[in-house]
Symmetry: C2
Subunit: 361 residues, 2 copies
């Protein structure tokens, strides 16, 4: 079997070792005579899977004990609604840092529940940067402050957790950079991430929430949309997406086996630097993100003309590199280089970029 | 590889042919060099998967053109909230037929949004039957009428679609009997089903909805919780649970290959009759459901003593039959014999039941 290099933004490539292990035991898990996706969610076999998944996340991200680790459904889009439903009173207001399409979607849903204030936005420069904290206009009595830590479309990323003094809970959409670098979970009120970039396949959403916050939800919130429901039932209030959680367990175990977050982060930074160095070498490639806001997960760049971009994508495809087309809102090319993209894949792309420039410069 | 017979109530056994096909292409789908769960949800490969899944469902259930077929997340439990959120005005009332634990959960969530009237309940006899339509007390101006078509815990099932005259939309939780027998979709306003019994693995929820109903949702409903959102985007508003939808596509294709619903239904009725005949043969086994309300999906029965029940379950387990323990709310034994349980599995169980009675009678 020949595996290609898949640079899609998500659902994205998973570690080959994980894919092979899941394939081998797919219809006969641990010799039990059935697949893990056929196991009852109340079985000891699945309980071990979900417990291990939670423990792996706790270990990798050093999650403090007063935070719950939840496996939910609906992706970031459902969190866009659940967070204000639980934490934004009708008479309250929430602060949002607007760093692109996904921030705006979160803002749109929050407005259904209460007032929204835009603390900062880089919309005027087509979201090429993360606004500096010094430029933000924040409300000290905001119900919460919401950020999108990595912006897949624009290739921008918060370089540090913003310092939010004053007790306003910080809510972060980390869908596209969770588990890619060290974070201090204790500085956040709630972290959420669709799994389909760094955690596993689509269909499961990781939520890390400070437990005391969950007690603030109004009584009117339906059971499935209330964080407290899932905390008290350890993500087993109803039938969870068992196979997606199994894949997340395997993927997080792989991260641990690779050396945990320090090793993964170092490799991610090396991979990103390899591509940005080529972009910075001359004017042939131009990065979308301003250098101080660059993402180590999504490298967005343009070539001199749309025709060359199309040729670049098509030629790369023929060489076993797929998913390099940029998002329609900024065009150009995008290389998504999540945890599971091997260095060999980035080397292959880097060599191709140099070669393409030489031949088409 | 030796596959055991898995009688779990859900997540449940899937067809061995489906499991083998998914395993074979798991890490290299159609020779593309990556797995389908690594494919972008915007790729032609996944679009073909979801289109085929929808078409299979339309063909198998003869879904009329004015109904949408949606693939959502959150299971029946999320539908318990979404239906009233979209269709129960604060000043309105909905009718519910209470046939057990799952009906009650649906009722509990609906009460957060409006008034609920219990049209009928079999709670007094521990949900051993489906109340006859002639006993129901319905409101002609109800926002909708809600039923649970099959009750996994008690082994009861509506034998026919209730005749709901007067234009009140009929909403049905068919999680545990969808695609097991012929239904007339046009008599329903909305049908929903968690996939993990007859459709595939957990993590995807099938919704079949009359499209005009979706226009009634209030503006205040968040995008992800509004049916119209998913209708207009063909279930691709956000990243869907791609692998669960792929498995649903394979499972529905298997149903078509087996001869479609007529063949599946005939086999299901034959399988159920085989077990009920043994239960009815004498007083050793006693069925929970009254004969006129028996489910062809979940056969719930007791043995003369709890000790014999425990011995029955343990001995069956040792013979390669798992998942036969009944739900704690009624105790005893339960054989869930969904579409994917082969006749050989039911024969194996039937022979064992006769043998166990002979040895322990």
């Amino acid at each position: 079997m020949s595996r290609i290099f898949n640079f899609n933004a998500g659902p994205a490539t998973l570690p080959t070792a994980v894919m092979n292990e899941a394939a081998a035991g797919f219809a006969d898990y641990n010799g039990l005579g059935y697949g893990i996706l056929e196991a009852s969610h109340r079985s000891p076999e699945f309980q071990e899977v979900i417990d291990t998944a939670e423990q792996n996340i706790r270990t990798i991200l050093s999650v403090p004990d007063d935070y719950a680790v939840l496996f939910l459904q609906g992706g970031a889009s459902m969190q866009f609604a659940m967070i204000p439903m639980n934490f934004l009173p009708a008479a309250g207001a929430a602060d949002f840092v607007d760093t692109g399409v996904w921030s705006k979607k979160a803002i749109k849903e929050a407005k259904l529940f209460g007032a929204v204030s835009i603390a900062a936005s880089s919309g005027e420069s087509n979201y090429d940067r993360i606004p500096a904290v010094s430029e933000w206009t924040r409300n000290d009595d905001a119900a919460y402050l919401h950020i999108t830590s990595n912006n897949t479309i624009y290739g921008t990323q918060f370089q540090h957790t913003p310092d939010v003094a004053g007790g306003v809970p910080l809510m972060a959409d980390m869908s596209s950079d969770i588990m890619s670098r060290a974070i201090d979970v204790s500085t956040y009120g709630l972290i959420y991430a669709g799994a389909q970039k760094n955690l596993g396949p689509s269909g499961v959403t990781l939520v890390i929430i400070r437990k005391d916050l969950a007690e603030r939800s109004p009584e009117s919130v339906p059971s499935m949309l209330k964080y407290a429901t899932h905390i008290s039932s350890n993500s087993l209030f109803n039938t969870p997406p068992t196979f997606a959680i199994y894949m997340l367990m395997l993927t997080s175990r792989w991260v641990l086996n690779e050396g945990g977050l320090p090793a993964i982060e170092a490799r991610n930074r090396k991979k990103a630097r390899r591509l940005y160095d080529i972009i910075d070498a001359d004017d042939y490639y131009s990065g979308h993100a301003s250098p101080g806001s660059r993402s180590i997960m999504n490298v967005c760049f343009r070539l001199p003309t749309p025709e060359l971009e199309q040729s670049f994508i098509t030629t790369a495809n023929a060489r076993g590199m797929i998913g390099l087309k940029g998002h329609r809102s900024i065009g150009g090319c995008r290389a998504s280089i999540y945890n599971a993209m091997p260095e060999a894949g980035v080397e292959c792309l880097a060599d191709f970029m140099v070669d393409f420039r030489r031949k088409n410069g």
